[in-house]
């Protein structure tokens, strides 16, 4: 029989793991609130996010060969394909792919890479928030 102390200790360990998981997990809404806070600092005249502006941004090229929709499709409720490797890309819209925009570090990793490829620079919080508004409007 295990010593009595082991149970409270293991419960504590489980609680710790859950707390750590909760800290890493996010919802698309929480991420958008985070972008709003940054956008307000970046642009004092910030007037909210726009799904239609996000759609326009998502579907346009910005000086380079690729737009977001080149790989993700113009309405990313469906699978896309990597323009270069042909790798299947799962839908971006959280309504059809609940795993999307649920991990802040992963979201930032991909915005960093893809904004560099599409725009040749980092995206602003306004741009990220607009794209997220567009993706959240899809179902």
């Amino acid at each position: 029989m295990p010593p009595a102390v082991s149970r409270p200790l293991s419960l504590l360990a489980v609680a710790g793991i859950l707390a750590a998981a909760a800290a890493a997990a996010a919802t698309p809404g929480e991420l958008q609130t985070g972008y709003e806070a940054i956008a307000r600092k970046e642009t004092p005249a910030f007037a909210g996010f726009s799904a239609s502006r996000g759609a326009e941004f998502f579907r346009s090229t910005h000086g380079n060969d690729w737009s977001c929709s080149t790989c993700h499709t113009a309405k990313p409720v469906v699978q896309g394909r990597h323009a270069k490797t042909g790798n299947v890309i799962q839908p971006l819209a959280p309504a059809v792919n609940p795993g999307r925009f649920s991990d802040a570090a992963k979201v930032e990793k991909w915005f960093k890479r893809n904004c560099a490829d599409v725009l040749g620079r980092a995206c602003t919080a306004q741009e990220k928030g607009d794209v997220l508004a567009f993706l959240r409007s899809l179902n």
Binding site: H82, K84, T85, G86, N87, A105, K109, R113, N114, A116
Partner: protein, 162 residues
């Protein structure tokens, strides 16, 4: 007569020795191949495999992998930057299981420019490699159905048509 028999014996010894040598070299090669192609690491699989087949470490020597990992922000025309912790883990995995042969002959460490790759795939026409289903010689899984799990057995190869 005696000389003739000696010569035949000599030929036989040379033949057996060279056969044994060839067989042992093949065995070493096959052993190294199977061990390295099966090497696995969850971070490597998730990060590299999110855009393309997670190419097995045995396909390039350690120096080429280090060069590649040192320039992820400019990765064959795309930004593939990852955080330092993941990069260090992946580089150690790649270098630790790297191939021992010649590396890429291109300025960029492309697997498709290594001598063995060109030897193995030299009979494929540009039309096959550039077809819509293949797109590029780097798309292993187009013809090797087990590529994502490290299975490149040539008996399983199916070349898509059209």
């Amino acid at each position: 007569m005696n000389i003739d028999r000696k010569r035949r014996l000599f030929d036989l010894v040379v033949w057996i020795t060279s056969s044994l040598l060839a067989l042992s070299l093949l065995a070493i090669d096959a052993q190294a191949g199977s061990r390295n192609l099966a090497a696995d690491n969850a971070t490597w699989r998730a990060e590299c495999g999110s855009c393309h087949v997670a190419y097995p470490p045995a396909l390039l020597p350690a120096a080429d992998w280090r060069r590649l990992m040192g320039s992820l922000a400019r990765h064959f025309g795309a930004d593939a930057a990852i955080d330092a912790k993941a990069a260090a883990e992946i580089e150690a995995f790649l270098a630790g299981n790297a191939g021992r042969g010649e590396g890429a002959s291109d300025a960029a460490p492309r697997i498709t420019t290594t001598r063995w790759f060109r030897h193995e795939h030299g009979q494929l026409s540009a039309a096959v490699l550039g077809s819509p289903k293949v797109k590029t010689a780097a798309n292993c899984a187009a013809c090797h159905p087990g590529a994502t799990s490290g299975d490149f057995n040539e008996h399983a190869v199916t070349i898509p048509r059209g």
